[in-house]
């Protein structure tokens, strides 16, 4: 397991952070009991966005590929979990089923995808997202087609919330450990110069495929939790472009390739979204547009 070897000093140094962290987790757990269901739904949404942004960062930040396929795995997870729930499986099992089915899909898709680079890679992943949506609407017997799939009502919202909290913690911890692991460093060096990385003996294809798989699984579980929370999946929403774009913006807004960057981006953007929804609902896409232009211009400036 050379890929996952981590300097233990980093763990020791950070043990001081454990106490405030535990307090924060406890607080997050208690919030729904203190402030009711609006706070729970709001926090649930933010937690999912944090998970999506942090997992997006593995491909979009550490590896530095412009990647628009995150929504595909979100949507797949949502559908698989919803189908499992519909057949009477408990939520944790349904989520695990989603993750374990998305794993081979990501492993398979990563093979042809990483033959591509740059803008063509981005467009191909976008094409996959569109294909996912089409597939879901074209199989009405399985997925309910374009009209979507309704689930039995969510009887235990606290369980969904706790699982979201757990998933977010796991995703953030995974990303934080990955940053200083050998795989994280390999991804970083591929980002800097792929030919050079290859020449010093890094198995680039293997590292990139691992990155895509690691990034896809939390996204699938987030999709599953989202499906459980709203008890309804529809292709246009589950495979919507927003599920790819929101994590992309959250990740690239501050400092891609670090744990705090996407974390902070997710907190900022999801709060901003909530404010915009309640005040000027027709401004949401334009906000995405403005941020995309801003990030694009920043990126161009950095390259020049």
């Amino acid at each position: 397991m050379a890929y996952l070897s981590i300097k233990t000093s980093k763990l020791k140094r950070s043990s001081l952070l454990l106490i405030p962290l535990a307090a924060l987790i406890l607080l997050l757990y208690l919030v729904p009991n203190l402030w009711g269901s609006y706070a729970r739904i709001l926090l649930f949404t933010i937690l999912l966005y944090v998970t999506l942004a942090v997992s997006y960062d593995v491909v979009g930040g550490l590896l530095g590929y412009l990647y628009l396929g995150h929504g595909l795995f979100f949507g797949l997870g949502a559908y698989i979990t919803a189908l499992a729930l519909k057949h009477g499986q408990p939520l944790p099992l349904a989520l695990l089923l989603g993750a374990s089915l998305v794993f081979p899909v990501a492993a398979f898709l990563s093979l042809p995808l990483f033959r591509l680079h740059g803008a063509v890679f981005a467009l191909a992943t976008l094409g996959l997202l569109l294909l996912g949506g089409q597939l879901a609407s074209n199989l009405p017997d399985l997925t309910g087609g374009a009209a979507g799939l309704s689930l039995p009502p969510n009887t235990n919202p606290m369980l969904t919330y706790s699982l979201a909290l757990l998933l977010t913690l796991a995703a953030v911890l995974m990303h934080w450990l990955l940053c200083s692991s050998s795989l994280g460093l390999q991804l970083n060096s591929i980002q800097e110069n792929e030919d050079m990385a290859e020449s010093i003996g890094i198995n680039c294809i293997k590292a990139k495929r691992l990155a895509l798989i690691i990034s896809a699984i939390p996204a699938a579980m987030a999709g599953g939790l989202h499906a459980r929370e709203i008890s309804f999946v529809i292709p246009a929403e589950a495979f919507g472009l927003e599920n790819s774009l929101a994590p992309l913006l959250m990740c690239l807004l501050f400092r891609p390739g670090t744990t705090w960057g996407p974390l902070l981006g997710a907190l900022t953007l999801s709060t901003a979204q909530e404010l915009i929804w309640t005040t000027v609902p027709s401004f949401r896409l334009s906000l995405y547009g403005i941020l995309l232009i801003f990030i694009g211009m920043q990126r161009a400036k950095r390259q020049a």
Binding site: L66, P112, L113, R115, L116, H117, G118, A119, V120, F121, A122, L123, A124, L126, G127, L128, L130, L131, Q134, L135, S137, N138, L241, S282, F283, R284, L285, S286, Y288, G289, I290, L291, L292, I293, F294, I295, G296, M297, R299, A300, K301, Q303, A304
Partner: protein, 275 residues
């Protein structure tokens, strides 16, 4: 499949391909020749004069994209993708907000031509003929005029072309403006054939882009042929599988093709300049 049905499908497919070809040729000018992108499909949802859009494209390039075109066009692609995607969202939401109808369409202007058992949509035929005419004009412009030659020089050897005094930004702005005008023109034709909505852009842009990447850079005839081929293929697939699967299969096939030969169908690995 009896011969009449087959010919019917082939002809309808070619006519649908006219639309794809138009968008693809517009993109080929930008993406293929210079390596730029523009959310062409979103503009398809607008029904306005191509000239106006040429101006808009030129302005967009000057405002948002020019500053980032510092080095070779290749490094420029990813930022350009982000910026033009962002612009297309603003356009999409702007259209939704300012325009109260979410769908629109026009009544057919040209009569359907009947020839034995074969039916031909007059509208699509006009689109195809115009498309061929426009491509011919573009081809002449690219090969016979100074401005076209400058553009081709830049696409073949950016550094050398710049050294002999060709302005990268100015020529790119012209290509960009022309691609935008072509996209708007495709939009004009599109609305006479199908209903349009502000959301329509993305799949269309994606198909056109894939055609351009697969057919390789620096040529207009190849994206033209690619567009016609895709239209034909889609119509042929729609007959046995249904229209919903035809769309799925066409994007899937394009993707598979793209991954199989990322450098394009006609380019050797060495000379690729995209991605």
């Amino acid at each position: 499949m009896d011969p009449a049905t087959f010919i019917q499908l082939l002809l309808s497919g070619l006519l649908l391909g006219g639309i794809y070809a138009m968008v693809a040729v517009g993109l080929a000018l930008c993406f293929g020749v210079l390596g730029l992108l523009w959310p062409t499909g979103t503009l398809v949802s607008f029904i306005m004069v191509p000239l106006f859009f040429a101006g808009l494209g030129w302005l967009t390039f000057r405002c948002f994209l020019q500053s980032s075109l510092k080095r070779s066009p290749r490094d420029f692609l990813v930022p350009a993708l982000l910026i033009t995607l962002g612009l297309s969202f603003i356009l999409e939401e702007g259209t939704l907000t300012l325009w109260d109808r979410s769908m629109a369409g026009l009544v057919s202007q040209f009569a359907t031509i009947r020839w034995g058992q074969i039916y031909l949509s007059g509208n699509r035929l006009v689109v195809l003929i115009l498309m061929l005419a426009i491509s011919a004009v573009l081809q002449i412009w690219l090969t016979r005029t100074d401005s076209g030659r400058r553009l081709r020089a830049l696409s073949q050897e950016p550094t050398g072309a710049t050294l002999v005094g060709i302005s990268l930004t100015q020529e790119t702005a012209i290509a960009f403006a022309m691609a935008t005008a072509l996209a708007a023109m495709a939009g004009l034709f599109y609305v006479t054939l199908f209903t349009v909505s502000p959301h329509l852009g993305l799949p269309l842009t994606l198909k056109a882009l894939f055609i351009v990447v697969i057919s390789g850079s620096g040529s207009l005839t190849r994206p033209l042929a690619g567009g016609l081929a895709l239209g034909t293929l889609e119509t042929m697939l729609a007959a046995p599988f249904g229209a919903h699967w035809a769309n799925f299969l066409s994007i899937g096939l394009l993707l598979a093709f793209l991954c199989w030969r990322p450098q394009g169908l006609f380019t050797s690995k060495r000379e690729t300049n995209i991605g």
